[in-house]
Symmetry: C3
Subunit: 134 residues, 3 copies
């Protein structure tokens, strides 16, 4: 049994951007079997698992804009003009804890892991991987 | 310290269906203390923890239908007519990582673990359990 | 490699209340590196990670009240008058699994861990910490 920790950084180019990080994570896994915490160190981003289909990812952006509406004024915007980015992050959450088998993520056929930028563009978004297993 | 991995399958009978998998999971746990990743290998389903009370579970279905509204048209529906199922999965998430104590889930009195079918009926939905502990 | 389990209790004073539990958790961590499951044993509460800024936390309460609207009647309210509290808990989730490094939570600069009371005031809300690592 062992613990392994890695981190990597991403630059984002748009205000809302979805980046598939599955192969990046698989390239860093160096245990055979166990679990991995995938954690974004930022409170205006998210880590999620779903299907990598471009129209579905557009639908996700549409849904989030509908749930965290532009119609309202938010108090946090008086300090830092990104309340909606934080609120979307609360709904999606900033981490996932996933299974590893045969030295890679044990995902289903139609699943990918995504980093979601909710307040970009940003330089050097940091994601940490903490693996526990053998 | 050890890692143990199991999986099991569920057949669902309705488009939206909530299945209590707490006792199924407890029957598969074979470590005394640690954590377990409970992961659905499907992007139109979810794993959640809450109270097993039938009217509340009806309210959950109602809320999800309200948040991911039929009023809108979704781009993913042109490819595969289940955009709303994926979007509900994004909101609930496809996994939970929970504590194990005395060889079972260390839940509160009013908590159960549920598999939520969001795009059924389906044959052989797969859930994996990855336990780390001793 | 080892497993360590702790729990602590919180009394809440309001119906909706957000309590920063980051320093409480850091004080209980006694492994150097690994992951920790932070789990609320209650189905009308949540554990989340985001920025500790008071206006943002007001915005979170506003958003939740908007998403789980007072306009509707919920079936669970016939049994126990707290359906909306459970539904908000489904959206936020009752646990987080986070990385530990150098014997504390490996959070980003603007991140804190919060316990969210969704159905208070309550006496003795229990949060469990299960750490796996070395």
């Amino acid at each position: 049994m062992t613990v392994k920790t890695y981190s990597f950084q991403i630059n984002t180019n748009k205000n809302f951007e979805i980046i598939d990080i599955t192969s990046k994570i698989n390239g860093l896994i160096d245990i055979d079997e166990g679990i991995v915490s995938i954690f974004s160190k930022h409170s205006t981003s998210a880590i999620v698992v779903n299907e990598n289909e471009s129209r579905l990812l557009n639908d996700l952006e549409f849904m989030l804009n509908n749930l965290v509406s532009d119609k309202f004024s938010y108090q946090h915007d008086r300090i830092d003009n990104n309340a909606k980015s934080h609120l979307k992050s609360f709904l999606l959450s900033s981490s996932e804890c996933l299974p590893i088998k045969n030295s890679k993520l044990a995902l289903g056929t139609w699943q990918s892991v995504f980093f979601i930028e909710l307040d970009g563009p940003r330089h050097k978004r940091t994601i940490t991987l903490t693996m526990v297993g053998e």
